[in-house]
């Protein structure tokens, strides 16, 4: 008999754009999903321009989430993100 394995942990994420005019309530995001993929999907869902690279910023701490890491490692339950254009300001 085939065992039923436990599902991968998931996150429910609330997101806004930088103008606070577009919001998104995403449910059941797999914790292992890379941040970069989440950012692109959120931008698409919000009808944000597709020719702009997008990042996610933790609305509480202001930190930009590492796009290579799993979203579950970068974000805790109940935290909100801001979908923000990625800007590379160069190193000092």
């Amino acid at each position: 008999m085939v065992k039923h394995l436990t599902d991968t942990p998931t996150l429910d994420i609330d997101a806004v754009d930088v103008t606070n005019s577009r919001t998104l309530n995403a449910r059941g995001i797999r914790s292992s999903t890379p941040v970069g993929s989440v950012a692109r999907a959120f931008a698409s869902r919000m009808d944000l321009p597709g020719n702009v690279p997008w990042s996610l910023r933790n609305d509480r701490t202001g930190a930009i989430l590492d796009e290579e890491k799993p979203i579950g490692e970068e974000l805790g339950p109940g935290e909100r993100v801001v979908v923000t254009p990625r800007s590379h300001l160069g190193s000092a």
């Binding site: 008999m1 085939v2 065992k3 394995l5 599902d7 991968t8 995403a26 449910r27 059941g28 995001i29 797999r30 292992s32 999903t33 890379p34 993929s37 989440v38 692109r40 999907a41 698409s44 869902r45």
Partner: protein, 268 residues
């Protein structure tokens, strides 16, 4: 009524017939049979089929490891295990065969291993001594990023399931379907899931006991020689299923729009 059986040698090379006979298959019509399991060549591949248990939901877990899924054949629900022809032609020549087996050519070894897989899983068991392959990502079969599906607003993560009795790729299509979902929407949702698993030979769709629609490529019991090509093909199948299905599933399960259109469509 007398019938003239087609010479199985015209369908299967003599070496394949020898392999099948060792597993208890006997020629029947254009194909072969062993008990309830019938084998037919389909295109360049092979299809094993047995009756689907009566009263079992075609979208329920068949309770069998491996690639078994529900498909309608000749207007009857069947549990079907399909093996594409390219798999058995191009399998890794380093296969796993029990000691004392004849020195068959690579394709024959792959075919024999595949038949052993089917025969064992048809009984709900795994081939004797089977262990899951190593982690495909660590083994370089594909990068970890390949498990992420992001196409526009569609975002899904394929789960890689490895345990001593399991090796599978699982894709959750949507969250649990609301219990109050109108019947017309639930009917269309079921219909597109059934059509999907009829179209994609490696994919089994289901609505689980928690009402979560999923698509699974179950490779539990897969022979070593077939694991990598089937894993790659299965992952690509799930990526395409996601591209075609996720938005439709979300619309049917979670949108309030379109009930009238769906009702009109059903009346045609």
């Amino acid at each position: 009524m007398s019938t003239t059986a087609t010479d199985p040698g015209l369908i299967a090379p003599a070496s394949h017939q020898e392999i099948l006979e060792r597993f208890g298959f006997e020629p029947e019509g254009a194909g072969f049979r062993a008990g309830e399991v019938r084998l037919d060549p389909v295109g360049a591949g092979w299809r094993f089929a047995a009756p689907w248990p009566q009263d079992r939901d075609p979208l329920a877990d068949p309770g069998l490891p491996g690639l078994w899924r529900c498909e309608r054949l000749h207007d009857a629900a069947c549990q079907v295990f399909a093996l594409p022809g390219w798999l058995l032609d191009g399998a890794d020549p380093v296969g796993d065969m029990p000691d004392g087996e004849p020195d068959w050519q690579d394709g024959q070894r792959a075919f024999a291993a595949a038949v052993a897989w089917v025969v064992a899983t048809a009984r709900g068991a795994l081939p004797q001594g089977w262990a899951p392959p190593g982690d495909p990502v660590q083994g370089g079969w594909f990068p970890a990023a390949a498990l992420t599906i992001q196409q526009g607003g569609v975002l899904r993560q394929v789960e890689l399931q490895r345990a001593e009795d399991r090796f599978a790729l699982r894709l959750v299509l949507a969250e649990a379907v609301p219990a109050e979902l109108p019947e017309i929407r639930r009917e269309y949702l079921r219909r597109i899931l059934l059509e999907t698993q009829a179209r994609w030979l490696l994919v089994r769709t289901a609505i689980g006991v928690d009402d979560t629609p999923t698509a699974v490529v179950d490779l539990s019991g897969v022979p070593d020689a077939l694991a990598r090509p089937l894993c790659l093909a299965g992952l690509e199948s799930l990526r395409r299923v996601a591209a075609h299905l996720v938005e439709a599933v979300e619309f049917l399960a979670f949108s309030d729009a379109g009930n009238e259109a769906l009702s009109l469509s059903r009346q045609k």
